[in-house]
């Protein structure tokens, strides 16, 4: 921030595009390509910020939909996951997801530990065709990495041991997510088949693990009594709402950044389809909950909004605006029915993560094959099945190994008292009075 040097540094900086050596006498003229590179990179950095703030969105959604006595635990998990995600992605994930060359054709490759930018100014410009810098690329992808584990966090909330969850997350983010990610984003076999899933991949990878976790943990105490689902109410609707709005905001970067450049037409089109699907998801779930439950349930409508967003993620760039509205609407309707359905099956998911991310993620990916002429339904189906076939067993095995060794579920007594006291020895809302009857 040394303003006295600014003029010099900035002319140089802007032109030299990050190269180490600054010409102080003759500044080379700015080219249009430089300016475009800068603009594109700014767009991608904005997308980083937007995807980053989704982590806060997830944290508040999950907190809002669970009980006050487990709040510290949920916030803790979501904070730790971001750190674990970024660090393991730097160490392993980035080079596992984008191996460059595959060792096992189209299936597995690893580019080595750590991250390092290509050298010199030329390297910068050459990287990704001048669309953004190496570091931007890494950080954008790194912000996605933690998301998969965050999705699990909500589904297994209020009963999972903190330590086991952190170990699971580390393994799943560091190894499974980038491994299967490389099939599409790293240019593996699914990419070669012209499978088009975009970022829904993250949702299904997270969703399958959520399902595995729920099945191995079992429902929360008191959730199913005499075969009937009982309500275990979330404790903070404003937090939930804040979270959903932040997630919607983040989705602008999640989908818009996935265009991988600031291309005005392409990006803004994606923003429009994204918003239309979210809006239609709200309307779809609102009509459904009002009809089915007599009175409109806020949590269902907010789930419906997220369902619309997940549903459009695969096809945001390739379907029409009308199709986007239809996709959002269907996902909104499905969201409500799916939450009710999972409860019928006694699959206890406190925040509806499996509904939103797995069910609507799969639906959205299939819809690409329905609503876009450029993609085949069959390929989309193969892709969906392939992810399920690897992610679900992988997550199941990790959870099972933890269950057999250190255990994955807290004691009944701790579950009753709350994980905040049990795992952290503290409370989230000191001084507030609660009526705790469960």
């Amino acid at each position: 921030m040394k303003k006295w040097k600014k003029t010099l540094l900035l002319i140089a900086g802007a032109l030299a595009l990050g190269a180490g050596v600054y010409a102080e006498e003759v500044a080379p003229a700015v080219t249009a390509a430089d300016a475009m590179f800068t603009a594109n990179n700014i767009w991608m950095m904005i997308s980083i910020f937007l995807v980053f703030i989704m982590h806060l969105g997830f944290a508040t959604v999950e907190t809002g939909l669970t009980r006050a006595k487990n709040t510290v635990n949920i916030l803790f998990k979501n904070t730790a996951i971001v750190a674990i995600g970024l660090l393991t992605y730097a160490l392993i994930g980035f080079n596992l997801m984008y191996p460059g060359d595959f060792s096992i054709a189209g299936i597995f490759g690893f580019g080595g530990f750590g991250i390092a930018a290509p050298e010199g100014a030329a390297g910068l410009i050459d990287y990704a065709g001048g669309a953004y810098s190496y570091w931007t690329d890494f950080l954008f992808q790194g912000m996605f990495a933690a998301t998969a584990a965050t999705i699990v966090s909500g589904a297994v909330a209020e009963r999972i041991k903190l330590g086991s969850f952190l170990i699971f997350s580390t393994l799943y983010i560091a190894l499974v997510y980038p491994f299967v990610g490389s099939w599409v984003w790293g240019g593996g076999w699914l990419a070669e088949m012209n499978f088009h899933a975009g970022s829904t991949l993250v949702h299904s990878v997270g969703g399958w693990a959520a399902l595995a976790g729920i099945l191995l943990l079992g429902p929360r105490l008191g959730k199913y009594v005499n075969g009937k689902a009982k309500a275990i109410m979330g404790h903070n609707m404003p937090l939930l709402t804040i979270g959903v709005f932040l997630l919607w905001l983040g989705w602008f970067g999640f989908n818009g950044g996935s265009v991988l450049s600031g291309d005005p037409g392409a990006v803004s089109y994606v923003l429009v389809t994204t918003c239309m699907a979210a809006a239609a998801g709200i309307i779809g779930s609102m009509i459904t909950t009002w009809t089915v439950q007599k009175k409109p349930d806020l949590t269902m409508v907010l789930n419906g909004c997220l369902a619309g967003l997940v549903g459009i993620t695969a096809g945001a760039d390739v379907v029409t605006v009308g199709a986007a509205i239809l996709i959002g609407f269907i996902c909104g309707v499905v969201a409500v029915l799916s939450v009710l359905g999972f409860d019928k099956l006694k699959i206890d998911d406190p925040v509806g993560a499996t509904t939103v991310h797995l069910v609507c993620g799969v639906l959205g990916t299939l819809f690409v094959g329905v609503f876009s002429p450029d993609f085949s339904f069959l390929t989309q189906l193969i892709g969906v099945l392939a992810y399920g076939a690897v992610c679900f067993p992988a997550a199941f095995l990790i959870f099972l190994a933890l269950k057999k060794t250190i255990g994955i579920r807290v004691s009944e007594e701790e579950e009753l008292k709350g994980l905040d006291i049990g795992e952290h020895g503290m409370e989230a809302y000191s001084g507030f009075q609660f009526f705790t009857n469960s």
Partner: protein
């Protein structure tokens, strides 16, 4: 001395307080409570699961008075809290053996008011 416990509808608290002041009963203690009575509860739903709420919000008054104030107190409460609808509440009267003002150590009838 008597200890009067009254359960009333929360929205009647201000009116009851005014009525008690009118009868020169200025001291009381209030807590909030949940009550199960003749008034039937209501149903909430949350994410499709039904919740029967049969513990309804009530306010609990605890008023220690000298014997000669009992009737006035009870009347005041009834006059202000009655709407004629189920859920209006109930009054309980118990014997109170002793009352001590912490500040001064005064006891009995002197201490109560």
């Amino acid at each position: 001395m008597k200890l009067i416990i009254a359960y009333i509808q929360p929205e009647k608290l201000t009116a009851v307080k005014q009525a008690l002041y009118g009868k020169e009963v200025f001291k009381m203690s209030v807590t909030n409570a949940l009550g199960c009575g003749q008034q039937k509860g209501y149903h909430e739903t949350y994410r499709g699961a039904d919740v029967e709420v049969n513990l309804l919000k009530k306010v609990r008054l605890e008023i220690a008075v000298n014997v000669e104030f009992v009737d006035a107190t009870v009347d005041a409460i009834i006059s202000a809290a009655r709407t004629g609808k189920i859920g209006d509440g109930k009054i309980f009267i118990q014997n109170l053996e002793e009352c001590i003002r912490i500040r001064t150590g005064e006891k009995g009838a002197e201490a109560i008011g």
